[in-house]
């Protein structure tokens, strides 16, 4: 029973991946494009979810990572670089540079200070296109040139091939994240998140793990930015700024930050709803605001967290008990009160 319990999340994930791979191409059309973008923003949300849920560092700056990588792709195509591998490598490299900045923050700050630093960073990055009009097009945004060449010849608008491509990448990232988090290092990361003082006293090197987690989650956001540039062939200033960063955090919080599937679920739910609403009128920020308030007051542990708590109470398995510490059922919020922020 315990083995099944431990493998439950990847099993559910595998079922979802098979369904996603098979069904939408049969239906086709708009849904395929919609789901592709949900998965891409799911990567942004997963990035925030990992650092916020497991690292307990509230990151309000993931948009900087996402946007910088997306802009890298667009800018390079204006210099005649269309090789998809070069573009991918460049997007990940600039994402890595940004992640070094966030790593510094993870070393010197936590709690509110960390959140303010990431917020100021994403705000600063959003001012960069305005300062470099020739390179980035400023307020007008920038097109990605080169047709389908940057996206390995896959056309995001026609057929399911680009959709499968994104699905494959997302599945790999999810699987890798699950593997890392269930490994010994992943356990250490979670222990540090819950109580850095205790983990440090037990001999874990807190700075190392925090930097590793920051870089890993930043690269996931960069992956999302790279795919976004390929899918839409257009990048604009909001991708870098507070809007995108906030969205990432809200998606992750709604889905549940202590899980891997949760951020994807949150991204899909919210983007589907805002897409519907934006057809009626431009009320999406009102909607995001209301959802954020609802999550904060009613389900600070997110939808999957709520589901997990429900399952655990009603159908406890041995696997659950052996894997998780007693306080694991506590929400992220409850955990935060005592540890990171009290130090202020």
């Amino acid at each position: 029973v315990s083995r099944v319990g431990a493998l439950r999340e990847p099993l559910i994930g595998a079922v979802i991946v098979v369904l996603l791979a098979a069904i939408p191409p049969l239906i086709g059309g708009y849904i395929v494009r919609g789901l592709t973008s949900y998965m891409i923003f799911g990567l942004l949300a997963l990035s925030v979810g990992l650092i916020t849920g497991y690292g307990r560092l509230f990151n309000l700056g993931a948009g900087a990572n996402f946007g910088v990588s997306a802009y890298t792709v667009a800018i390079l195509t204006h210099f005649g670089v269309f090789n998809p591998f070069v573009l991918f490598a460049a997007a990940m490299f600039t994402g890595f540079l940004v992640s070094l900045l966030f790593s510094f923050y993870a070393l010197v700050a936590s709690g509110i200070e960390y959140l303010m630093l990431t917020f100021l960073t994403t705000a600063a990055f959003a001012a960069v296109p305005l300062a470099t009009l020739d390179l980035t097009g400023g307020d007008n945004g920038l097109r990605v040139l080169g047709g389908t060449q940057p996206s390995f010849g896959l056309n995001p608008l026609i057929g399911p091939s680009f959709y499968w491509f994104v699905l494959a990448i997302v599945s790999l990232v999810a699987l890798l994240s699950w593997y890392i988090l269930t490994s010994q290092s992943g356990k250490a990361i979670q222990a540090i998140g819950r109580n850095p003082g205790r983990a440090s006293a037990m001999g874990y090197r807190v700075p190392h793990f925090r930097v590793a987690l920051t870089i890993y989650s930043s690269l996931i956001a960069s992956l999302g930015g790279w795919l976004y540039a390929l899918q839409t062939s257009f990048v604009f200033i909001d991708l870098l700024g507070i809007t995108n960063s906030t969205n990432g955090l809200v998606y992750a919080l709604i889905g549940g930050v202590d899980t891997i599937l949760g951020p994807f679920l949150g991204a899909a739910l919210l983007r589907a709803l805002t897409d519907q609403l934006s057809r009626v009128g431009s009320q999406s920020s009102l909607f995001i605001g209301i959802m954020l308030m609802l999550v904060v007051y009613l389900i600070p542990e997110g939808i999957l967290g709520l589901w997990r708590r429900f399952m655990k109470r009603n159908f406890p398995t041995r696997g659950d008990r052996s894997m998780e510490a007693p306080e694991a059922a506590e929400s992220v919020a409850a955990g935060l009160t005592a540890e990171n922020v009290e130090a202020l």
Partner: protein, 288 residues
Amino acid sequence: VNQVILQLLNGLVVGSSLALVAAGLALLFGVLHIINFAQGDFFMMGGYAVWFSLNLTHNYFAAMLIGTIIAAVLGGLLLTAVIWPLLQRSPVLVLLATLGLSLILEQGATNLLGGDTKLVPPPLTLPIPIGPVLYPAYDLVVIAAGMGILLLGYFFLRYTRYGIWLRAVAQNRPMAAALGVPVPRVYILAFMVSSGLAGLAGGLLLPLQSVYPTIGNDVIANAFIIVVAGGLGNFRGAAIVALLVGEFQALGQLIPGIKPSVLTIILFGLVIILLMVRAQRQHAVVRL
């Protein structure tokens, strides 16, 4: 030289109004250890409140007074409703709730009042000679009012009963409560003073900058920079840094070939470095 004097004065106008917004933020952080993302939207609310009361009364002074009171009461009520249920919870949750409130207020203002810019002509257009330059009288009024209110706030915090209670709660909440300070009342006062300061700044700047639903976004980033650089929760520090930031942006415009966005990036960079240095000095390498 004329240009420099002109920009110095412009910097004071921007700085003194920013100081009001930032002082409100700093006060709230000092007393409750929370960051209010909706502070910029209270600035916007103040602008609209003054615009409406001006259309009703046609008296600028009365409109300012009414507008500020509306912003203080409405903002205080909103903050109380949003923050009260979360008082025993993580400050990060409070921050996210005010972020949600900010998004709702912004879109709500667009829905209710339209996305267009509301203009008001300055009540005083008389140019006043200052040294070699002629400067509009209303701008001087803004500087004087901003500085005056800040000084009043300082003396209020220093000498009045509620000011002392505010500082007592900020310093040690359980001890203050044990000594008989009515903590809930102090909280509500802090909410109202904080949003009132932002509303007043919005009203003061209305004839100069006009008002539109997303003006809060333009204000809040600068206000955050100021509060962070001034030392979170430091009323006086926030006021001083606000004037510096105003001067930095105004004088920066004199340097040829530098765009305002470049100045913004430099400013963000400086504050990020400052915050990192300060955090490092306080807590060794990692805060545990």
